[in-house]
């Protein structure tokens, strides 16, 4: 019975259908299935599948976004049940995300946030145009493991370095790891500014975040 339901859960994530993912999450509660198992054996399977397909060039970005949203919707239903049981979903790590100061683009960063959340990270997304002190302040406040910074413009990517320099000055690395991303970001740039990781896409970002937490697949 639950095997069949797990399959449907995975499928609704693959289809990016938030209505059905919410419906199935509610059904699992009625059936008194364990919320944690529902997440890991059902919904997460779908997220992983779509991520793999994207990596193979078989799935499209909009499918990734819709899968992430469907996942979020299901988790929102299941999380209160976990709390009732006195359990929490084991988090892989805490991440502060932001687009750097002077840059107001955030589609890619938001997608990274969605995929990180869907994969089990706790994510605080500060939004766009965030100065170094705000990003670092928030990271300290929530005791973040990772700071993720985005920049879309060749003229604003230089700001990523400012945040890293500030972290170094405060002696906050390697405690806080730094991931960077955005259209103009290259491996050379990452090396130059001494960031800890980068990815060209949201699926890769999840992989990097797991590696930085020592929890590689």
């Amino acid at each position: 019975m639950s095997e069949e339901l797990y399959k449907q859960m995975a499928q609704c994530i693959i289809d990016g259908d938030s209505d059905i993912s919410v419906e199935l999450a509610k059904k699992s509660i009625e059936l008194k299935m364990h919320p944690l198992e529902t997440i890991t054996k059902g919904f997460v399977v779908g997220v992983n599948y779509i991520g793999d397909q994207f990596g193979l060039g078989e799935a499209f970005l909009p499918e990734l976004v819709m899968a992430g949203e469907a996942m979020k919707a299901a988790i929102a239903v299941l999380e209160p049940e976990l709390l009732k049981l006195g359990e929490t979903r084991q988090m892989l790590g805490r991440v502060v995300l932001a687009t750097v100061e002077g840059d107001i683009h955030e589609i890619g960063k938001t997608l990274v946030g969605t995929m990180l959340s869907a994969s089990g990270f706790e994510v605080v997304d500060l939004g766009v145009d965030q100065p170094a002190d705000k990003i670092i302040g928030k990271a300290l406040e929530i005791n973040a493991d990772i700071i993720g910074m985005s920049a879309l413009l060749t003229t604003t990517m230089v700001r990523q370095r400012e945040v890293i320099e500030e972290l170094d000055k405060e002696g906050l690395r390697p405690r806080i790891k730094v991931m960077v991303g955005g259209a103009p970001i290259t491996r050379d740039w990452v090396t130059k500014i001494k960031a800890d990781g980068y990815s060209e896409d949201a699926i890769g970002a999840v992989k990097i975040a797991k590696e930085l937490m020592g929890k590689a697949d």
Partner: protein
């Protein structure tokens, strides 16, 4: 020639009406208080964080704008935009340089800002220059001004842009242009709103400053169809137009009659890897943007040369060839992209030279065919049939060769295999282009600025640094 049309008159009217509907009914996110007050005073209304612009105000602003601005270089060259000519300029804001000899890339340096400007200055088919590269050791706040300052001494052509982001940049850019004799009304500045339909505070503040200074507003909405605008190109064009016109409305209230260029930088989502710059959708949407801008009587500036390719290869050539040709045939007034590679993050000197030659072919297409008596050549045909029975010795032949009936190329390979393999050592078009770029860099001399002008530029940059960098570091 008759302009190429993707959209019928009815299509254009429908898109115009859809644009006005979006501006008045959907509204535009706008939170910058001083400019909001200006807009409210002119009849706009606010719902939540969105401003609604009534159709009459939009059309009144369109009517007021100077749609035939002229831009000037320090050599006195004037490009009159919207007067029927097509002007080409280069890509602005590339991060990397493609080294065609090695097949590798490297990060652009300060020297590349200078070298790119010199190469573009030497290429006759690059009519307007914009600062090309973004060296990464420059503080972010100063990037645009730095690029502009270090380009100015190395071309005498109209040097336009830079793309700006902050109000503070306007004053310094205008001052620098004035040092080389370009008045604000002859200088274009650009900034990009955020798609969808969002004018963030620095952009709104910058538009007010641009309009006050009287510069030509060539703002660049750059939506990505499927991500920040609808997946359908027509829907994206409507949204792009609303974004463009929204900035125009503010500028025309602040300074009625200031110059405007209608620009579009619509790209499309590559649903697997990010952004399409090379697909024919770009050429098509650029052509449609030209039609839409001309519908209002504006001169129009869109993408021209654009590719996703990483080398000077076949994909590169066919993508940029198509994407420049389609909007050119639709009647574009300005096309961008000379030297561009890899969706705009890279450029190369060889590519600039190749594009210079491609412009020649595009211009030939634009000049079209004539069916007048002279070109029908009935009399010549009769003479030849009564005489030598070939056209080689006819004055008519030489006259029209000289008059440009053929776009005679310098780089394209048109020899026999033997000549190509022997004398030309199997060099292909791109090899010739790289040779030529290196020759230009070795030999091309640009008349330098006066020492006094250099000093003034340094002074302006020092003031900008003090004002913009130090202030932020507090």
């Amino acid at each position: 020639m008759e302009p190429l049309k993707f959209l019928s008159d009815d299509d254009l009217k429908a898109m115009h009406e859809a644009t006005l509907h979006i501006m008045s009914e959907v509204g535009i996110i706008w939170t910058h208080k001083p400019s909001l007050d200006i807009l409210l005073g002119a009849g706009c209304t606010v719902k939540g964080n969105r401003i609604s612009m009534p159709a009459e105000l939009v059309m009144d602003s369109v009517a007021k704008a100077n749609k035939r601005p002229k831009i000037r270089g320090r050599n006195g060259q004037v490009n009159e935009l919207g007067g029927g000519n097509l002007y080409f300029h280069n890509l602005g804001g590339a991060r990397d340089v493609f080294d065609a000899r090695a097949g590798t890339r490297r990060i652009a340096t300060d020297q590349d800002v200078i070298d790119a400007t010199r190469v573009l200055d030497a290429l006759p088919n690059c009519h307007t220059v914009t600062p090309f590269f973004t060296p990464q050791d420059v503080p972010g706040e100063l990037m645009s001004l730095f690029m502009y300052r270090h380009s100015l001494p190395h071309t005498t052509k109209p040097l336009q842009g830079p793309g700006i982001q902050f109000a503070e940049e306007v004053k310094h850019a205008v001052e620098m242009a004035q040092v080389v004799g370009t008045t604000p009304a002859e200088l274009t500045l650009s900034l990009s709103p955020v798609s969808p339909l969002t004018i963030h505070d620095p952009a709104a503040a910058a538009i007010v400053e641009m309009a006050k200074a009287g510069v030509i507003c060539a703002n660049l909405p750059a939506p990505i169809g499927g991500a920040t605008s609808p997946m359908t190109i027509s829907g994206s064009l409507v949204q792009q137009s609303a974004e463009s016109l929204a900035l125009l409305v503010l500028a025309q209230i602040v300074n009625p009659g200031c110059g405007v260029v209608y620009c579009g930088r619509l790209g499309m989502l590559e649903p697997r890897t990010g952004l399409i710059w090379g697909g024919v959708e770009l050429g098509m949407s650029s052509a449609a943007t030209v039609q839409l801008g001309h519908y209002y009587g504006f001169s129009v500036n869109v993408y021209g040369f654009s590719t996703n390719a990483h080398t000077l290869d076949a994909q590169n050539a066919f993508e940029r060839g198509l994407n420049a040709t389609i909007p050119a045939l639709a009647g574009a007034d300005e096309l961008s992209g000379i030297g561009e590679m890899e969706a705009g993050v890279m450029g190369s000197y060889g590519q600039m030279v190749l594009d210079n030659e491609l412009v020649g072919s595009v211009m030939r297409l634009r000049s079209g065919l004539s069916a007048d008596v002279e070109h029908l050549a009935v009399e010549i045909i009769g003479n030849v049939m009564n005489g030598t029975r070939n056209y080689l010795g006819q004055k008519h032949t030489l006259k029209h060769l000289r008059a440009g009936e053929l776009a005679l190329t310098k780089l394209a390979e048109r020899n026999s295999w033997e000549t190509w393999e022997g004398k030309l050592e199997r060099k292909q078009m791109a090899d010739h282009a790289v040779d030529e770029a290196e020759r230009i860099l070795r030999e091309h001399q640009v008349p330098p600025l006066e020492p006094q002008q250099e000093k003034e530029l340094d002074k302006i940059m020092a003031a900008a640094e003090k004002e913009m960098v130090k202030k932020k570091k507090k």
